[in-house]
């Protein structure tokens, strides 16, 4: 009994000044999506940026093709089941909220560039995800099925009608480039940008500093206090 109490006390003190942001399933789903997407982007880039083949050896590019196909299985099959079984409610709310931009969100998007470049700005209060994250989420929620469907179609492109195969390549490539842009911005904001990077602990331990949550997601933070 005393030991349990001691453990609980240590646990509580460890999370003092922090709020719980993402559960284990959300974190696993996020990292599966993130890591597989980056591997797919990197191994597929040789197909959309011609100059890369002058830098990389043929054997390397051939092995990229193999890695691309194997990684695609994890990209396709893991994220949704993990969210479904481990974070159904949170994932549902995330999808719904991602496509709802309120007045504060629109204001946020207009002013965010100032924060991005380190200029002084007063950003409007945000919910569990800020408007920039909502845009990124929209792109991922729409982009993921596009990449999965067109990607698996391309594995069997020899069996598709020629025009369909050509459009499939075009859509797969352009969606990859657009999502690549979003991911670059997301990684930068999550790991380098001085104002937003404290949030990365939310995707590692699940906990984020309270002061940071209060400053960045005021509406969400207030809802936790109720």
């Amino acid at each position: 009994m005393a030991i349990t109490k001691a453990v609980l006390t240590t646990e509580a003190s460890r999370h003092e000044g922090k709020v719980y942001r993402f559960n284990l399933a959300e974190r696993i789903a996020h990292w599966n999506h993130a890591i597989t997407f980056l591997v797919l982007l990197f191994t597929g880039l040789g197909l959309v940026i011609r100059g890369l083949s002058t830098v990389l050896d043929r054997e390397v590019l051939l092995s990229f093709g193999q890695i691309h196909r194997v990684t695609a299985i994890l990209f396709t099959a893991v994220t949704i089941p993990v969210l479904f079984f481990g974070a159904r409610k949170a994932a549902g709310e995330w999808v719904r909220s991602s496509f709802r931009l309120d007045k504060d969100d629109r204001k946020f998007l207009l002013r965010f560039y100032r924060d991005f470049f380190g200029l002084p700005v007063q950003l409007p209060p945000q919910g569990r995800f800020n408007a920039g994250e909502k845009i990124n989420s929209m792109m991922q929620i729409i982009g993921w099925p596009v990449m999965v469907v067109t990607g698996w179609m391309l594995v069997y492109k020899d069996r598709l009608p020629q025009g369909l195969a050509q459009w499939t390549i075009a859509i797969h490539s352009v969606t990859a480039l657009v999502l690549g842009c979003a991911v670059l911005g997301h990684i930068y904001l999550a790991s380098i940008h001085p104002h937003s990077r404290p949030g990365i602990s939310g995707m590692i331990s699940g906990w984020v500093p309270s002061w940071w949550a209060k400053g960045h997601y005021r509406k969400w933070y207030d809802s936790l206090q109720k």
Binding site: G46, L47, V48, I49, R50, S53, T54, R58, L61, L62, G65, F116, F117, G118, L119, K157, D158, Q162, G163, A165, Q166, W167, I169, A170, S173, V174, A176, L177, V178, G180, C181, L184, G185, Y188, I192, H193, P194
Partner: protein, 240 residues
């Protein structure tokens, strides 16, 4: 530099397929893979029916889409006209197969490369005829340089019933009683390939470069900001 053109006189083609076999032999192809195909076309209504053979292969397009979509530059059009593949650069992505309007490419699964008729470019460079031309029993096939006034190709392509497949290096002479539609279609650029190569891909690359640039500016401006704040903090601290 030459400007090679290919002529096939279908009015004397015997359909013997020796061109197919000579090409397979020259290129080390297995029996089920061919660069040069021969098929039969019929015209008329029974009992007044006639037939001809039509040969097809890579048409060596003027603006080949296979080379446009090749991400490594392995497929390219030589200055002399023939479209070839550099095995050392090919990564077997098959984008060229998807783009080819004439179904003229095959995959070598063992070497993981795409292969095609090169108009026997190595032989042409050595002053020889392509294997299919050399072996043709009836002399129905010919290759010549359109820029060489002495080349017999000029007389051949002036023969009656000769049709150029627009946008390609190929000329066919049709037998009497056959219409243009038995021949491969004129070259037509694909809307999808154009959109992908000339619109989507450049825009995507510019976006990627733009985002990278914005991130770099952000890194610098935030660093300057942090230093300024540090200095202001230091000065304020010194004042106390």
């Amino acid at each position: 530099m030459a400007r090679y053109a290919y002529f096939v006189d279908l009015s004397i083609c015997a359909g013997c397929e020796s061109c197919t076999v000579a090409c397979q032999n020259k290129n080390g192809l297995p029996p089920e893979q061919v660069f040069t195909k021969v098929h039969r076309e019929e015209a008329g209504t029974f009992p007044a029916v006639t037939s001809t053979f039509v040969t097809t292969q890579c048409m060596h397009c003027d603006n080949p889409p296979c080379t446009e979509v090749c991400p490594t530059g392995a497929s390219y059009k030589t200055a002399d006209g023939p479209v070839v593949v550099d095995d050392a650069k090919c990564i077997g992505c098959r984008y060229c197969i998807t783009a080819c309007p004439y179904d003229a490419r095959i995959v070598d699964e063992d070497e993981r490369v795409v292969k095609k008729c090169t108009l026997c470019f190595d032989r042409l460079q050595a002053g020889q005829q392509p294997a299919c031309v050399q072996t043709c029993l009836t002399g129905a096939r010919a290759v010549g340089d359109l820029d060489d006034p002495q080349s017999p190709i000029h007389a051949l392509i002036k023969k009656p019933n000769t049709i150029q497949i627009a946008g390609t290096s190929f000329f066919y002479r049709l037998p009497e009683g056959f219409a243009r539609n038995v021949l491969p279609a004129d070259f037509k650029a694909s809307g999808a390939t154009f959109a992908w190569q000339s619109i989507f891909q450049p825009i995507g690359q510019v976006m990627l470069a733009g985002v990278t640039g914005a991130l770099l500016v952000s890194v610098v401006s935030n660093a300057i900001n942090a230093r300024r704040q540090q200095q202001e903090g230091g000065e304020a601290h010194g004042d106390h």
